[in-house]
């Protein structure tokens, strides 16, 4: 029995298991089965960013969702004639740029790595391919995105300050 276990361990990729474990800990992928997570890991691209490296710039066309594995990313928005406003600081496990999975529109903020950062990128084209090949994965991710968008929209419409500032 132990021989079988050590044979299995010898055949299994520890890095792959680590990535899968990390994805499983995220809210957006928590409903996926073990096998689905395997397909997702295969569809992801990973890249490391140096401190201060710009990931994308406000106005760039979005193509991918970014999942932050380690480090920190800051989202900023430019204001005419002023210093850029910090919108949010992302911590490991957070994801951003999710709108690119729905439509190819300009990014609404600039993302910059504030320290050595490792990101996983999921592309719309890859997600589309997964939607066809493994619909369960696509449906799960899309339904989570829809719930998240609904929550944000509900918060926005319930907050009179946000609405009035928008209308001013």
């Amino acid at each position: 029995m132990s021989a079988l276990k050590s044979f299995k361990r010898w055949f299994l990729d520890p890095q792959f298991s680590r990535k899968k474990q990390f994805l499983r800990s995220l809210d957006i992928f928590k409903d996926l089965r073990d096998r689905d997570l395997g397909h997702l890991v295969a569809a992801l691209h990973s890249r490391s960013y140096r401190e201060g490296e710009v990931i994308f710039v406000e106005g760039d066309i979005g193509r991918a969702l970014f999942v932050l594995e380690s480090g920190e990313v800051v989202l900023t928005r430019s204001v005419a004639g002023k210093e850029p406003v910090v919108l949010y600081r992302l911590k490991p496990g957070d994801f951003f740029g999710e709108m690119a999975l729905l439509e190819s529109l300009p990014r609404s903020a600039t993302a910059t790595a504030t320290e050595k950062t490792r990101l996983h990128l999921l592309y719309k084209s890859k997600l589309d391919a997964l939607l066809h090949a493994e619909p369960r994965i696509g449906v799960s991710i899309m339904s989570h995105l829809a719930r998240m968008l609904s929550a944000r929209l509900r918060r926005l419409s319930a907050d009179p300050k946000l609405l009035s500032s928008k209308n001013d």
Partner: protein, 359 residues
């Protein structure tokens, strides 16, 4: 909206691609085994990825896959060895007979045509003779062309050997390339790679599956029908099926001719023709819709043009890579247009109902 600094450097990309293509043109002969190996690895990669997605180590999978393929090849060779040898001997012994039979048939038709055409007999005879002798000469030259391809068989060992390393290390190479790219262009570059991969990969794997299916089905059917040289006819039909309709035409002509020669009846030839028409219809009804669903569509004329240009510019390697290159070109144009339209705001469409308040 984005300013000029944010736009992808199309001009730089085109210049770099142009210089790369010219450099490739200069050294393409030396690169032949590497290109074939890259294509070999690219076609096989989904099989490795399928098991890799189950958490298995890539290195172990590739080694195990090669060992399995070697074992299967040995078993297949042992099983088919006697059949291949007997078919080769049969073909060698009957080839002069086929040729003289064709010559007889041609000259008989020539005489009949000369009688029917309203032209002076000398002119008709001369015109037909020159046309037919050209065709016969080309037919006689076929074995020489075939033997000219034999040096390429040296690649039969080299390609899987180099392909092994491509299969093993290609993902690490892609990761390294992504890491080197300026971070601003990572998104767009991988988007381009993904688009090309999804269009080209599905297409290539699709036509390879079709070719393999046609070869297998026609081989089994021809053996059942008792047609000689079933392997040769099936391989010819399968290999030429890369060009739409050509596989069925080649199979029907060569197979039908063989059946006519072997049995001496038109009905035997018609049975073979019906077989290849049936295979073509089954391909059209069952396989093509699945393949065309997620891949680039190329018009048959584009197919032929790509093959002619590829063959003219790069010889054999050009023939092999003409269709994939046409697919890549089409995917590049489509992605470039999608970029251009989104960068310039031409494709900004709000979803229907965006103006309705949240309720």
């Amino acid at each position: 909206m984005t300013d000029e600094r944010h736009a992808f450097p199309f001009l730089t990309a085109f210049v770099v691609t142009g210089v790369g293509l010219y450099a490739f043109y200069r050294v393409h002969e030396a690169l032949t085994p590497f290109l074939l190996a890259a294509a070999f690895a690219y076609v096989l990669n989904p099989v490795v990825s399928y098991f890799e997605a189950r958490g298995l180590r890539r290195s172990h999978l590739v080694v195990a896959g090669y060992a399995l393929a070697l074992a299967l090849s040995l078993v297949a060779y042992a099983g088919l060895k006697s059949m291949i040898l007997s078919e080769t001997e049969l073909f060698q012994s009957r080839a002069p007979g086929y040729l003289s039979q064709v010559q007889k048939l041609v000259y008989a038709q020539q005489v009949q045509l000369a009688k029917k055409l309203p032209l002076p007999p000398k002119i008709t005879e001369h015109a037909l003779e020159s046309a037919l002798s050209g065709a016969l000469h080309a037919l006689q030259e076929l074995p020489a062309h075939f033997f000219a391809l034999l040096p390429l068989l040296a690649h039969a060992l080299l390609v899987p050997f180099i392909g092994f390393f491509f299969l093993l290390d290609a993902p690490d190479g892609v990761t390294a390339a992504i890491q080197i790219l300026p971070s601003r262009y990572v998104e767009q570059a991988i988007h381009l790679l993904s688009e090309i991969d999804s269009a080209l990969g599905n297409y290539l794997r699709g036509i390879l599956i079709v070719a393999a299916a046609i070869t297998l089905i026609s081989f089994v059917s021809l053996v059942i029908m008792g047609i000689d040289n079933a392997i040769v006819i099936a391989v010819l039909s399968g290999a030429s099926s890369f060009v739409p309709y050509l596989g069925a035409i080649v199979g029907a002509l060569v197979g039908g001719g063989m059946a006519f020669y072997q049995f001496g009846t038109l009905s035997a030839a018609m049975k073979v023709v019906a077989l290849f028409v049936g295979i073509r219809l089954a391909d059209e009804i069952f396989l093509q819709p699945v393949i065309a669903k997620h891949s680039v569509h190329l018009h048959p004329m584009v197919f032929l043009l790509a093959l002619v240009l590829g063959g003219e510019m790069f010889g054999f390697i050009g023939l092999v890579f003409a269709i994939p290159a046409a697919c890549i070109l089409k995917a590049l144009v489509s992605v470039a247009w999608s970029w251009y339209s989104s960068e310039r705001g031409l494709a900004l469409n709000l979803a229907d109902g965006a103006g309705v308040p949240y309720t």
